[in-house]
């Protein structure tokens, strides 16, 4: 199962009620994935400035851990620190090499993870229901241009914050994905990437989608190219949404095994596992169509 949802505002203002819309959508899909919930939201780009959201750890004294991370981040130019739930959020000047920044934070302890990083992206996710996510992070107040969301039913890996979705493609700022399905050549690809020095944070097969797309995007060609290539390189069942600071799109596997439907109007694009999520979030007269097998679509802001 699992439920995925995405919303893209076409107005270009970057000020749509994004959190509220995504919350309604995943609440309607909550019964498809009661384990954990998460959203990846994009607001107007802040040139030269990253927002980082860091998971403080799995257990122990998180306040002390927050101090430690703040200290390390401050020496790299980190500022505006705030702590919510198991997260530390802060701003930091954009740096040449995201990977060395990640290392400076994540080397503090094995259970510290930069959950999201980017000029425009912020991810919050945790174990529990959509209502829980709203309670902890008040996501309904978030305004922005586009975003993706996920409710998880774990089938092959543990239930915790790190294994929840959306996944940030660690190392590539602003790229996030949500995935419903199974990647059946996951172990093969993971071995290959691990040999090339890629760090895996989880045992969740969905994590590889972000890593894969980051590599394709690094080659150039944009999200549409990357999602289309995915159809030949990733096996299994996948209905997948992916977003960057400027692009938003979906891909559906060649067997159309997992549901995914969408609507596009003059004002917005909304995509979800089931139409019930779109109708719950958005009023108006619009037609919803199920995507076809191998279908790829990308929108740009």
């Amino acid at each position: 199962m699992c439920g995925i949802a995405g919303y893209f505002d076409k107005s270009g203002s970057g000020d749509a009620p994004l959190g509220c819309t995504l919350l309604r959508m995943i609440t309607a899909l909550g019964c498809r994935g009661p384990d954990s919930t998460g959203v990846a939201m994009y607001q107007s780009k802040r040139p030269g400035c990253w927002i980082a959201r860091v998971k403080l750890g799995d257990s122990g004294d998180l306040a002390a851990r927050a101090e430690q991370i703040s200290h390390a981040a401050a020496s790299a130019g980190g500022r505006d620190f705030s702590r919510i739930g198991a997260y530390l959020r802060f701003s930091v000047d954009e740096q040449e090499d995201p990977k060395s920044f990640l290392l400076s934070i994540e080397s503090i302890a094995h259970d510290v993870e930069v959950v999201s990083l980017g000029n425009s992206l912020e991810i919050v996710k945790q174990v529990g229901s959509p209502a829980n996510l709203e309670h902890t992070f008040s996501i309904s107040g978030f305004r922005g241009s586009h975003g993706i969301a996920h409710t998880r039913l774990s089938t092959e890996s543990v239930v915790d914050l790190s294994h929840s979705q959306p996944f940030w493609a660690h190392g590539r700022p602003d790229l996030a994905i949500v995935h419903n399905g199974h990647i059946t050549n996951y172990h093969q690809l993971r071995r290959r990437y691990a040999q090339q020095g890629v760090r895996f944070y989880t045992e969740n097969d969905s994590e590889i989608v972000g890593i894969y797309l980051a590599r394709r995007l690094n080659e150039g060609g944009g999200l549409e190219h990357a999602l289309t290539r995915m159809l030949t390189d990733l096996d299994g069942s996948y209905s997948c949404l992916a977003a960057t600071e400027s692009e938003f799109g979906f891909v559906r596997d060649p067997f159309a095994l997992k549901p995914l439907c969408f609507t596009e109007t003059g004002d917005f694009v909304a995509i979800a596992t089931e139409e019930i999520a779109i109708r719950a979030a958005l009023d108006g007269d619009y037609a919803v169509r199920e995507t076809q097998a191998k279908e790829v679509r990308v929108w740009r802001r």
Binding site: F255, A256, P259, E274, I276, R279, A280, R289, E290, Q292
Partner: protein, 232 residues
């Protein structure tokens, strides 16, 4: 006409309200604010006219026997699955597996149908005004499958005696699916069916192509093992 407002009600409550209206003798029922809910109007066994003012989720009209259901929005997976008789009409698009295992009656989709349309249908008529996704008609056994637009890949794969008509392009034919000439009067009969269910703005029946089983898979013959290798 009985009116049922689905807003704020559970699926069970909505279906119970539909049954109650039928028992009370309503021949025509309208359900408002369906919100794309699953399992609406499943297994209706009375010749009632039911209109759903909006979209429905999965399995709408499934297992029905005689009811006439009209969906003004779109439908999710498994529309009219295993319907015995009656009519299900969707004004917008239908999701995957529409009319799967259909036994009888008519399913009309005015928009597009997604993957696996009419798989394993055992009777009845399916009419899609738009396009259909891949694997439509897979292992279909009887009845008629009509697609006015384009058909996706592996169309009519491994069929038995279902007859298919396609007005647009076929991305690819499935295993053992073959094009066939229409017989004398067949085009007129197709036109009549199209007129009955799509009305005046129907496409021209003469432009349709007919697809049937090549019958290579009907009986096992080990000399034809290559076909069987590809079949599954």
């Amino acid at each position: 006409m009985a009116e049922i407002d689905a807003a704020g009600r559970t699926t069970r409550e909505i279906n119970a309200a539909i049954r109650l209206a039928i028992t009370a003798g309503s021949g025509e029922i309208i359900v408002r604010n369906p919100g794309a809910r699953h399992n609406l109007a499943v297994a209706l066994l009375e010749p009632v006219k039911l209109k759903i003012a909006g979209s429905v989720g999965y399995y709408c009209g499934g297992l029905g026997d005689g009811a006439s259901i009209e969906v003004e929005g779109s439908a999710g997976w498994g529309l009219a699955e295993s319907m015995m008789s009656g009519l299900v009409r969707v004004h917008s698009h239908a999701g995957s597996g529409a009319a799967a295992a259909l036994r009888g009656g008519v399913v009309v989709v005015h928009g597009d149908a997604a993957a696996r349309l009419g798989v394993s249908m055992k009777g009845g008529d399916v009419i899609v005004a738009g396009d259909c996704g891949y694997m439509a008609g897979f292992m279909a056994q009887k009845g008629t499958l009509i697609v006015c637009g384009n058909a996706g890949e592996a169309f009519a794969d491994s069929m038995y005696a279902t007859v298919c008509y396609v007005g647009g392009k076929i991305a690819s034919l499935g295993t053992d699916a073959v094009l066939s000439e229409m017989e004398e009067g067949e085009s007129q009969r197709l036109d009549q069916t199209l007129e009955t269910y799509l009305g005046a703005d129907r496409p021209a029946a003469a432009d349709f192509r007919k697809v049937v089983a090549g019958r290579k898979l009907w009986n096992f013959d080990k000399r034809e093992w290559r076909i069987w290798q590809e079949a599954l």
